[in-house]
Every structure is written in structure tokens, then in C-alpha cells.
Symmetry: D2
Subunit: 137 residues, 4 copies
């Protein structure tokens, strides 16, 4: 399975008065990493829209465990891969490595959806075409 490694520098504005990363930023980096992972297999958000009418894959669940703090000027790596496939959803797992330290681990569950033909302006989930999974293998 394809794994994407997303390098992130921890900047001043990412940290809080305790001089460690303010935790919602990890989820912003997860989101970035998921999009970069999809893009790396030719499935960027713009491509999903143009080819499948899928306006990005909305998030339905996210979780993270914080094992060790990251600090200003740390250079971290977010390792991301799809770890579960369901009919209409998938799970992307993320691990943040800070040098040799496993700092954070978490996942996002995202859903394949399109505009609902019966309710203008609303989204509806659909079964993912098999080529999506195949692209990551």
C-alpha cells in the first residue's frame, strides 16, 4: 500500500505558551497529508471533482493520540496511508515522527460522496469505484 511522507517544519505560530504544538494543528497536517497522499496516486481533489463529480472526500471521524510533544523548529514527518477500505468510506492512518520519536498517531475516516440528485446542494454517499482502491496498491 502506498505511504506518503509529508515533511512539516513546526513554526512559531504553530506553538502555544507551553512552547509545544497547539494540538488542532496536527489535524490540519493530517488533512494536508491525506490530500497529498491522494494526489501522489493521481487522485487530487481537483481530479476527483472533474473525473467523478466528487468534491473532495468529507471527513466523518478523526482521532489522535498525543504521545510526545513537538516544539518550535522541530522538523517532523507525517506518514500516511489508507488502512481500511469500506464500500463508501476509507480510513487514512497518520503517524507523526519527530526524529526517532513517535510523537502522534491518529486516523481520519472519509466518505465518497457526490451531489444528491434528490436534494439540491446536499451531498450523498455512494459506493467507491474499484479503481480508487487499485490506485493505492
Amino acid at each position: 500500500m502506498k505511504t506518503y511522507r509529508h515533511k512539516v517544519i513546526v513554526h512559531w505560530g504553530d506553538t502555544d505558551p507551553a512552547s509545544i504544538v497547539f494540538y488542532p494543528n496536527y489535524f490540519a497536517w493530517f488533512d494536508q497529508s491525506t490530500l497529498l497522499l491522494f494526489e501522489s496516486v493521481g487522485l487530487g481533489w481537483n481530479t476527483l471533482q472533474e473525473k467523478y463529480g466528487v468534491p473532495g472526500m468529507p471527513i466523518v471521524e478523526a482521532k489522535s493520540r498525543f504521545l510526545a510533544p513537538c516544539r518550535f523548529r522541530d522538523e517532523i514527518v507525517v506518514e500516511s496511508s489508507v488502512t481500511q477500505w469500506h464500500e463508501k468510506t476509507l480510513e487514512v492512518s497518520h503517524t507523526v515522527l519527530n526524529g526517532a520519536t513517535r510523537a502522534v498517531e491518529g486516523y481520519e475516516i472519509r466518505v465518497w460522496c457526490k451531489l444528491d440528485p434528490d436534494r439540491p446542494g446536499r451531498l450523498k454517499s455512494f459506493a467507491m469505484p474499484p479503481e480508487i482502491r487499485a490506485a493505492f496498491e
Copy 2:
């Protein structure tokens, strides 16, 4: 001229390792305050779109001077009003009061624009209708 007073609590995540507000947040509060000012005179962004085909007023210039730091748990007020009117642009001035202290002062210049009839997907500036200025008086 209408003045809007926007109360903001300085939260933990708004501050940096020096325990003061990370400065780009002041511009985010300026942006919020401009939109609330417009909304307070019946010209919310959604109204501008529906009534005038104006998708919000994009920013063309912003400046701020930082006179005194604001800290975690300060409750500040952003005072905002339109201070200059031009044919196609206006200037919104903002003052951040932290109790009796004038902490920050700045402005934004924003432009009245619509979709360009000659270039699909691009915006073009137009003269503001006189009722826009009148709404603030």
C-alpha cells in the same frame, strides 16, 4: 458613521511561546469585524451576493501597528468603521482596545467587484452604488 464593536476573547491557541497573541490573528479578527460591521447595516456577504452579485469584498491592502501585546484570557474589543470611501474601494479602520489600552490599530482596503463578463471566472472592480455608503450613515 456606524462603528461596530466586536468582542474577542484571546484563547490559548491564539498565543505563542512568548504568551502574547500571534500577530496574524489580529488580521483574522479585523476580517471578522469587517464582515460583522457590514452585516450590522444589512449588508452581510450573502446579501451582497444575492442583491448585487458581489461575492464579498476582496482585500487589496492591510496594515497594522502593534502598540501593546495582548495575552491569554484578555478580553479585547475591535472597534471598526469605514473611514474612507472611493469610487470602487473603501477603507475599514480597526482599533483593538485591551481594557483602557490601545493595543493595535490598522486598516483594510477592500474592493467592490463582480464576475468579469469578459473573462469567465475572474473578478472585475465596479463603481459602488451610492446606497452602500448611505447604509453606514
Copy 3:
């Protein structure tokens, strides 16, 4: 058990090209709401530091399920309360209500800790004094 209701306006900068809240912002609002909940029972972060030598309660786990989108100009309420007590950790649960709609639900697990006497600059978890739990009852 004490419940805190934290009102939040969804601002332009909180939303993404799909015109819905960019999900890490919900965790930022959870963080704000936890601190406001503690403050509402007399246990603000500054008080924890002064009275107990506890520099805020670091997060060790956070999870959220996203049930319905929130949009620009929605006025939402984050309802927060402590839902589990352990010797050294507690769980704060958060529900985001968007009018009558339950939009988001999640939790944070946070740990009671102080500077480690044996390792300068590092934190160590300790048992919470019983008055902490009592303050929420």
C-alpha cells in the same frame, strides 16, 4: 455535573472552499471550551499554575465525529462537561449544536501533571487532588 455552553460564530476564515468549517477548527473550539469550563468552576489555567504548579492540562487523546456540516455565519454552541474521572486523567466531552442539529460530538482526554523533579524541563503525571473533581459537582 457542571456543563459549559460556549457560543461560537462561524467566521469566513473558519470555512473552506466547500463553504463548510475546516475540521481542525472544531478541535480549537473544543480546547477553548475545556478551558472556559475549568475557568467557570474557578480552575482557570493560571489558577492551576499558581495553586497546584500545574501548567494547564496537556491533551493525550482527542476524537471527534462529524455528523452535519456547519457553515459561514452559523451560530453554534459547544456544550462541554467532564464525563470520566481517572486517577491522573479526565475526559471532557463536547457536543456542537447548530440550532436544533447535533453537528459534531467528540472528547478530549487530558492529564494532570507537574514539572518532573527528576528530569528538569519535563512533565510528569500525578494523582489529581479530590477537590478538582468536587469543583465540578
Copy 4:
């Protein structure tokens, strides 16, 4: 004079419902770029603290003009250099290039300061030692 080129990918969460960068993010990138510029000449914030007792250089003024929008997935470059030297302050100018387009230009004015010996916990500005300027030449 030393110029630093800071590459930034515009991520989904950096953009707004108009699908362009939410403008306070440019100032966050300016801040990052200033710190990286200083670091590139051996004057990282941690070094300033250890060697000079200078806890970073606080901002006293920032301005930006927005010439062209940047969008999701644009890869931009922030070019930064010190453009004015005064006794106690300096000006860092920033230009954002989006491919061949000059998208944003602005500056920050920052001040050299240390803990005030007469007022505990407050900062006071001091004359910069000549080696600071020399480091950028």
C-alpha cells in the same frame, strides 16, 4: 544582502469559500519566512535568546498589498530580505511569487529588545549590535 526563498504549498485549510487564500495566512508565512531568514544567517530565535538575551524580535508594524489571488494547490515562494536598518528596529520585506505572478508584497518592522531591568516581565528596546547587520551582508 541575503535573500531567503521560502517555498509554501497552499493547502485546502488555507483557503476560503472563494477558493483563494484567507489573507491573514500571508502574514503567518511572512512570520515564518522572517524566522527562516534569520536562521539562515545563524541568528535563529533560540540563538538570539542564548547569545543576546533577545527573546525573538517582536513585531511593531506589518503591511501587505494583495495583487493577485493564490489558490488551493498553488506552490508559492516567499522572498524575504532585510530592507531597512535603524538603531533599534529593522524592516523585512516580503514578496510572494506565484509562478511568474507577483501575488503579494509586504513588510514587517521588528524591534530588538530584552527584558527591562527596571520593570520585571516587560521588554525594552535596545540598540542592535553591529554584528547583526553584518551577518546579512
